[in-house]
Point group: C2
Chain length 116, copies 2
DNA sequence: CGGTATCCACGCGGATACTG
DNA sequence: CAGTATCCGCGTGGATACCG
């Protein structure tokens, strides 16, 4: 059976997709957004993002970290203290997140196609 | 087609999520992007987005249409001719898509954390 | 406090076949 | 040409329990 490889969504150079691939995760957008305002601890993020489960929060934060978008600093204390903040690279996303936010505020807090 | 209504991830007013919910679909970003340059027929889009299956293309286009972001015009001919274009609402997304594109071009064609 | 580990449901999305 | 219809694998993400 031939291995049949999975080619990327767009052949080469789909910057839009590349960007969405990084911030398009279920919670990444808001996580990034909240971190725009500054460093946050794990549970602080949880409070700001009601609905996210512990597992998903961890997962998404780790992915953002792996993509070099956020920094994760662990303070070897007990009880533990872990702080999340934007990396330099993550900060470059600010215009994007803000564009997303601005659009959402004006055009789509809810889903209402053409409405009345 | 499932009734795709994503209840808001964040309790109230998460414009970032709202926006991502609309354009965050697997192909929506590029679809929107390609339609920015003008009206396209079904197969024209297919050619521009290699890798997308017919089913996914239809699905995503229909969702974008349901969300009022694109227009779908069917010409009652044989063979059929269906043209897709941005709606007024969809056009308001231009800054967002362009921000995504600009960021992707400069910072993330690939996935490379912090590298060496 | 800030996680892991495990289990599992669901729906996204690919492949394929058929149609007006 | 531009779709539907069907089948199904697989990853995503929720719930829960436990750990350093």
């Amino acid at each position: 059976m031939p291995p049949r490889f999975q080619e990327p969504y767009c052949s080469a150079g789909c910057p839009v997709e590349a960007a969405l691939g990084l911030i398009g995760g279920k919670w990444k957008g808001i996580l990034l957004y909240h971190l725009m305002s500054g460093t946050l601890r794990f549970n602080e993020i949880r409070k700001r993002v009601p609905g996210v489960t512990q597992r998903m929060l961890t997962t998404q934060l780790r992915e953002l970290e792996a993509d070099g978008l956020i920094l994760r600093v662990v303070y070897p204390q007990v009880p533990p203290r872990v702080e999340y903040s934007l990396s330099d690279r993550g900060r470059t996303l600010q215009p994007v997140i803000m564009a997303l936010k601005a659009w959402g505020e004006r055009h789509a807090t809810q889903r209402e196609p053409q409405a009345a």
